[in-house]
Amino acid sequence: MGIDILISLIKIGIVLSMLLSLAAVLSWAERKQSAVLQDRIGPNRASILGLRLFGLFHPVADAIKMFFKEDFIPARGNRFLHTIAPFIAMMPALVTFAVIPFGDFIEIAGKKITLQIADPNIGIIFVFSIASLIIYGVVLAGYSSYNNYAMLGAMRACAQMISYEVTLGLSIIGVLIVFNSVRLGEIVRMQGQLIWGVIPGWGIIYQPLAFILFLTAAIAETKRVPFDLPEGESEIQVGYFIEYSGMKWGMFFLAEFVEIVVVSALITTLFFGGWQIPYLLRDGFYFPGGIHIPLNHNVVSIMQVLSFGFKVIFFCWLQLMIRWTLPRFRFDQLMALCWKGLLPLSLLNIFVTGAAVLLKG
């Protein structure tokens, strides 16, 4: 019993530190990547003892700066809600990672350790129910700031997130029908099967439309360009966190990047086989054509964790790429895209998937 709790705590520690450090690196990557794709150089000045490392110390410098800045609370704002709002915005993004499997299992001294913090029966439903709490952080931030811009931004964010949550939830139902489970560990394990013995049976092969719908809705949920309507420099400044400064602002900022990582992890888990590597089974590679390379199971597990990490980083990169490629929507276009475009398509996707599964028997 005690050892199980210890193992869980170690897993939580590893996952949290990986998640937060990846989010911090992403805040650097966003600046650097945007610079590189716009033919610029980007941040490269922060240095420790003359070591610059392509500006990799900028997140550290930013964090130090934010900790020492004045923590401003508006005089007529609600002090308690203003303080607690960034925590409420940050918490769901971190907690959702608890059910995402980042590997199969490893065996240490005869003990089987599942590489997933928790695998509840409700799985993916837990992710969505927790993720929908992010709205509270946003609305409380807007409400407690006593600022019209903040209130308008919060209302916009609220309308946008609730609208896109519908599509987000409906788009994955096709995946759940195909894999016949809501447990994320189960879904990933099912994706290890091969179609006709050659093609890896990843979710995107069965559900390409659902992938596009999910990606679009997920980017809208993270409130980034092209869906960054809660912010708007020319109309409402930075929207709901206009009255935030110092590390409280930093938490909203970091929460955004944590959300990117979580979205990438969810896309990987649902559509790109999670920790699966094609043709890699528990005891080594089985290539089509009968070639077998035997490997130790723990080695296989480590390779699978690395594969999961690689996929997550790839989708983080893709999301940053989309953010720096597309212009933003207008608010009516945003709503029309959701309710007239994505929602009917996701319903159609559910219908077609259901019919196909029914016909196949």
Binding site: Q33, V36, L37, Q38, D39, R40, I41, I212, M321, I322, W324, T325, L326
Partner: protein
């Protein structure tokens, strides 16, 4: 006239157009990532951009070999100056072979238009605008009024 772009069904479903846009940015991303030397940015204080030799930089008053000013306070430059930014006060030179010398010679950079007329007008080649000083920033207005001490650049 702004050309009206026809938006058909193909553009309305977004995805092909998004892929087109992403391919452009991805191409730039990998080109710049693999050949960072192709990025056009010049890291200014560390690296200075090449400048044409005819560039007109900040004015300098040139000196003879013994260190005294070449200028004879003939007022040709002040007369030629279209923005009237040169102020000269002439004085009697102790050496009888030299007629006059400038007691004060001031250029107001805030009025100067950097036309180079003073350099062309000078009969003694005593004033130059060349590549020695290019950075003209200052914190106060009086930083931009150059007297003889600032105009003579010691090597």
């Amino acid at each position: 006239m702004i050309k009206e772009v026809k938006v058909g069904l193909w553009e309305k479903i977004y995805i092909p157009e998004i892929i087109k846009g992403l391919s452009v940015t991805t191409k730039h991303f990998f080109r710049n990532l693999l050949n960072p030397e192709k990025i056009v940015t010049i890291q200014y204080p560390d690296v200075k951009r090449p400048i044409a030799p005819v560039w007109r930089g900040r004015h300098r008053l040139l000196t003879k070999e013994d260190g005294s000013l070449k200028c004879v306070a003939c007022f040709m430059c002040a007369t030629a100056c279209p923005s009237k930014c040169i102020y000269i006060e002439a004085g009697e030179h102790p050496d009888p072979s030299v007629e006059k010398y400038p007691v004060r010679f001031e250029i107001d950079l805030l009025r100067c238009v950097f036309c180079g007329m003073c350099v062309e007008a000078c009969p003694k080649d005593a004033i130059a605008m060349d590549l020695i000083i290019l950075e003209l920033a200052g914190y106060e207005r009086k930083d931009f009024i150059l007297d003889i001490n600032k105009l003579v650049v010691k090597p």
